[in-house]
Amino acid sequence: MNLKNKITFVLIMIFNISLYAQGGYRLSGTISDGDKMPIPGANVIIANTTKGAATDLDGKFQVDVKKGDVLQFSYIGYKMQSITITNQKTLNVVLIENNSQLDEVVVVGYGSRRKSDITGAVSSIKSEEINAFPVLDATQALQGRAAGVVVQSNNGGEPGAPISIKIRGNTSINASSDPLIVVDGFVGASMPQANDIESIEVLKDASATAIYGSRGSNGVVMVTTKKGRSGKLSIEVNSNYSVSNTANRLDLLNADEFAAYQQTFNPGYVQGPADTDWQDLLYRSGSTTNHQFSFSGGSDKINFYASANYFKQDGIVINSDFEKITFLSNIDAQVTDKLKLGMNLFGSIGSKNGIATQSTGDSANGGGDDVISLMFRFTPDRGIYDENGDFTTNSIGENVDNPYAVATQRVNETKTDNYRANLYANYDIIENLTFKTTFGYSTVNETNGSYVPSTLIANDGGRGGTAIISNKRGTTVLSENYLTYKKTLGKGDLTVLAGYSYQKNTTFRFTAGAQDFIDDDFSFYNLSGSNTALIPTSSLVEQEIQSQFGRLNYDYDDKYLLTATIRRDGSSNFAKNEKYAIFPSGAIGWKISNEDFLKDSETVSNLKIRASYGLTGNQAISAYQSLARFDNINGLYGGSIVSAVVPDQAANENLKWETSYQTNIGVDLGLFNSKVSLSLDYYNINTKDLIIADSSQPLYLGFLTSASLKNVGEINNKGFEVSLNTRNITNENFSWTTDFNWATNKNKIKTLLNGQDIYLDASPSYFSRADTHILREGEAAGVFYGFESKGVWQGGALPEGTATLAGAVAGDPLYNDLDGSGVITTDDRKIIGNPNPDYTFGITNNFSYKNFDLNIFFQGSQGGEIFNLTNVQLYNGDSNATKEVLNAWTPTNTDTNTPSIANRRDLSSRFIEDGSYIRLKNIALGYNFPSTFTDKLGMDKIRLTVSAQNLLTLTKYSGLDPEVSYFADSAGSSSAGNTTSGFDFGNYPTIRSVNFSLNLKF
């Protein structure tokens, strides 16, 4: 055989095994709906096997059968039909519409359930919604899609910014509120690419999450990736290209206005030679490219799905971009009638070039490393370079470099490799009893390199350039083993699950760095080309979790549902006396619509009530936190740098996990043959034993870590969720559906250590270092704290109940004098705002007319407040400013509420604004080429989509964007969002984009 023939032969061997494996004959047919419309993508499966096929766009299928086989025909939203093969050669099947999606299968922990049998609170998001518009991270696609799930970028439109998800509020103070992510059964996996996802289920209540025990408190996001289907090999190509721009700009002073403004309070100010619009200079038109290629298929024995994806985003601020390549493959093999094996493989490599944003203000003069805030505050009468060709520095205030210099000169590159493999075996031991074991391994390797060159003056330039390399390598080994027993007992269906799990996480980190380089061109690639080595660091953290878990489902007569779960988790992180924790839950459901008195109702097609109660946990303790410890520090001893040992903390042998006590009550209602389906859920989550840093430990004890940890706090989240789906119009050429969700959550701190308020400071460190947030019993976590603004002091007698800070002059701000002392001190601070929204919502309308479809998706948030720290800086006098500043108080302009300009960053209610918004998140118009056309090309599908994201935002907020996320002290830390949210400062701007996409299927 020549090479070509060999390849052909091999391909035939791979793809047509079925031809040789069959003994029956080939049956063909069509599947259509009640209106005689063909149903593409419907499943045809031979019962009790994995053999089968799917229909093509014309609803046609072919399947190899033999006499006696039972064929099952199914499609989402339709009732399954079974037909026994006698010797039909063709079959034309008409599927009857079901009571909506009740028979849809929903993935839950360690198994799946029919949606109609679910007793907990679970939201499902399907592939079409996830891929409605291109997203960097599939997590983003959840925003506005599921009630009670709040999704936000941690840094606006930054390429590669992490996305945070919060389900049903903050259940903790110091621990993460991020949900557990489970991908194809792998606990704690990273998100696959959106195009590879079949469905995402969000498990919200204890009945659904308690099976994940000490990691279930924040909800669980179950991700299922696409699998191959037996039948024809299918190839898909999806290409997206989008162009993006900043959604908004600030209206800042130009050079003349700025100089005139400075001279009003800084008479000696001399106007510089240039007129620079730093926003113009730094913003650019960004772009996003995404190409995905996948192929899938299978025979009766083996199914496979494989894909490759390339994503590239150039940010809208110069010098920021992100690139990622992802591979995924799923193989499932029916080895024998009883044994099924499979493997999921996932790999990605990402590369992010960042600019410094959201600066904590710690690492350089007064926030001089933060491109975004510098872009607003830097003086407009300076150019990029001075007369000597050096980068300019600010003419006022802190000695900072210009934003162009910081954006172009600083190097900050993160490369992330992410690999995961998960092998499973499923064995039917005896009838009704199945054993499944999975063994998986994942590794994340992240390297960050940064370099601050000597050309930057105010940054680390004085040190002759500073390079730092840090590396983190995390690995997870996971073994899960469980038995599932299913049995029909009279009218009841019983399912019992019992299992054992072991997981080990290892994180190894190191950093190295150097200063004073002989050449800036080295960047961070030649540490030895320097005069000063920084002390390298390294650390190893290991954590083991071993668990037993079980679940019992009992459905009686398809009317009464019972679910009970339990998990016993042991974790090495837990303290000596508290190694094991038990998390039980129970739930009941009643399908009222299946009762005789409603069964035949024309109006009510579905009615179910559900109630659940259970305990879940949050592993709020980091490794080694409960041990008595020394720590080593590097210090000076006798004029040399030495490593020395000091007392770090005393032992805490009783430290344990945080526990959430969750109640959920829900109703599912379907009307008019499920043209209208409504779900309502009420929940009450009481989280106890919150770990709070006990700063009541006196500093004079002299420990390096001055606070100890205690399980003392309690926080409550109560909420209500509505999800409404309607099929407004459905006819041959036109359909219109609406999905609406709405959620409200009320967060309240019930107990703190000794009832004492906890003050938090999340402002940049060069601000006043005043407290910005407070934790107080009876209030929501992380409300804003500060002075209550009462306008401007005009001089003379103070208006009743108000006062100024000591040493004030006319034009200074007036504040509410709470203690009546006649002068404003820290005792006059109060709660001045709440960043938590009253409610959030999303509404999607889908229209389709013939081959066109239109998707309009609004998403919004109402009642959350924003602390506009950008304005605090811009009103500080040592900054450029927005035009509003021209209205500040002066002896000749006294009729104003804006105090005179001065070096003063006091945090007051003056800077708190309503952050409510409604946003047209996505509008997309798609066109499917008709099959008459695609058939000619030998293709199954050609689809074109044009869409726009963030086209319209309705808000009263004066800043750049109401979706803000600045966390100074703990930038990027997972718990910061619990207590110090709602700050607008130095965020990478949100982008507005127009996207073109092409989908091809062969």
Binding site: S479, S539, L540, Q546, F630, I633, G635, L636, V645, L701
Partner: protein, 509 residues
């Protein structure tokens, strides 16, 4: 059998992991098993000294408190943080962040010293091996408690590591007299066991323990013991290898002060910012002039603190120490550009004052890798021989029947050195300051305190002198160097931070 082979395979796959869940940290140290040798004890001793060089102590926070509370340094930039302004105004905030940081670092030094001393008890070694090492920890503890007791009065006192947090969180303050008794005991132990000399003055030798003993006695008003200790020191200066430095300027020259014989104990910054707060001092930028380029571009100061003009004018214009201690001119243009006198400082930047700035830290700072002079190479002298001479002088003057002539003799040694001039005035000897002669006890008492103010200016001694000599009403009166500050006796003690009192209400007792 066929069926079972799969089951075996499955069991094989699932037999992974069975753990006792014990944490076995790598790279983290467990107190119960740490102290196995004297080497480990030495590493713990180093902990105490590492904290001592941390910026929160004399590199920045504690030093600023002591400077600003004195009558010779005031605020330059009026918008500088309120914590600093409060100390200068002697109106303590209930919660002064600077005080809190300073308080914390001092107790960290003590905790580290206590840990080293307790750790040594777990190690078997000869007293001749063990004691010279832990004497360093005794010295660190005494040195730090001495600062604490002078600043706060009665304080919580621990001489053992804290193991029961609840109990330690509830202690009452130890009276001042008891704290002093413990300090003296520690210093006596240190004096007994420390070597006569160390390789560097950054480590305490017998001389350091002895000089601090003299200083402690003087502070307590125990003049006979202060005199005995100081003269014992003076008689042993050869053994201790101590001598007055010829050129006063060299004491504040980063390249020379480390090898000078005059410093007795110092904190040796080495021009290295690589370990952050643990090696970075800030007095150079804090006392430097805004936009001043006389020491090189990018090395300008923050103009946080400045001596009052009266302080500057209180020096005799011919006193070499005025030239060494102050920067009366600056260069706001290029390094080789025109010189601006101090009357033009404010015009260059509104945060400057038209007053000469402190030069002891800025002028000869050595290598400073941090921007604006952070992380200098200066040696921060905690104790030097001139002070021992002045202690002897002050003490003998107070002893009934003490010789005033002897007192004048010690004082005149210090003045003679000042008169001889040095590199900063072109090595031109001066007529000033003239020798003291024919003093009465009262005039000498004033003279020696004035001498300390001039000689030890900006070395964090002045506030303690005001406290121990109860000079408040005088020096903060209308004729004081900084004008009237309505001083009351309560101002002699710095308020223990309210946060700390909240944590242990017994501190309010």
């Amino acid at each position: 059998m066929k069926r079972y082979k799969y089951i075996f395979a499955l069991i094989g796959l699932s037999m992974i992991g069975c753990s006792d869940l014990e944490e076995k940290p790598v790279g983290i140290l467990a107190p119960e098993s740490y102290f196995t040798s004297m080497d480990k004890v030495e590493i713990a001793v180093k902990g105490a000294y590492s904290y001592m060089a941390n910026r929160y102590f004399m590199g920045r926070e504690t030093a600023m408190t002591l400077m600003l509370r004195s009558d010779i340094v005031e605020i330059s930039d009026p918008n500088t943080s309120v914590d600093r302004r409060n100390h200068n105004d002697l109106t303590d905030l209930a919660n002064n962040g600077q005080t809190l940081q300073s308080w914390k670092i001092m107790y960290q030094i003590i905790a580290a010293a206590n840990q080293a001393i307790a750790g040594a008890e777990l190690v078997t070694a000869e007293a001749s091996v063990k004691n010279p090492l832990i004497a360093q920890a005794y010295f660190a503890r005494a040195f730090t408690y001495f600062h604490l007791v002078q600043q706060f009065g009665a304080i919580p006192y621990f001489d053992k590591p804290v193991s029961d947090v609840a109990e330690a969180s509830n202690v009452t303050k130890t009276p001042v007299a008891d704290v002093y008794a413990n300090i003296i005991a520690d210093l006596q132990f240190a004096k007994e066991w420390l070597p006569n000399t160390q390789a560097t003055r950054a480590l305490p030798a017998k001389s350091a323990a002895s000089a601090y003993l003299a200083s402690v006695y003087l502070t307590m008003g125990d003049y006979p013991n202060a005199y005995t200790e100081a003269t014992d020191f003076i008689s042993k200066k050869g053994i201790y290898n101590i001598e007055l430095e010829a050129d006063y300027q060299d004491l504040f020259d980063a390249d020379k002060s480390g090898s000078s014989l005059e410093p007795i104990f110092l904190i040796d910054y080495i021009g290295d910012s690589s370990i952050g707060n643990y090696s970075t001092d800030y007095l150079v930028p804090l006392t430097g002039i805004r936009k001043d380029n006389q020491f090189g571009v990018g090395q300008e100061g923050w103009a946080v603190m400045v001596p009052s003009l009266k302080t500057y004018l209180s020096y005799n214009a011919l006193d070499y120490r005025r030239q060494v201690s102050f920067n009366a001119t600056a260069k706001f243009g290029a390094v080789d550009g025109p010189v601006t006198p101090y009357t033009g400082f404010k015009a260059a930047d509104s945060r400057n004052q038209n007053q000469p700035y402190i030069a002891k830290y800025t002028r000869l700072r050595g290598d400073t890798p941090g921007a604006e002079g952070r992380a200098s190479s200066q040696n921060y002298i905690m104790m030097r021989y001139a002070e021992v001479l002045l202690i002897a002088a002050e003490a003998v003057n107070e002893i009934p029947g003490g010789s005033i002539a002897e007192a004048e003799g010690y004082l005149n040694l210090v003045r003679a050195r000042a008169r001889s001039g040095g590199v900063t005035n072109g090595n031109v000897p001066s007529l000033f300051p003239i020798d003291a002669i024919g003093s009465t006890q009262a005039t000498f008492r004033d003279a020696v305190l004035e001498e300390r103010r001039i000689e030890l200016a900006f070395e964090q001694k002045r506030w303690y002198d005001i406290v121990r000599r109860k000079l408040g009403p005088t020096v903060f009166g209308a004729s004081g160097l900084e004008g009237n500050k309505s001083f009351t006796d309560a101002n002699y003690l710095i308020a223990i931070p309210a946060e700390e009192v909240l944590r242990n209400p017994n501190l309010a007792l």
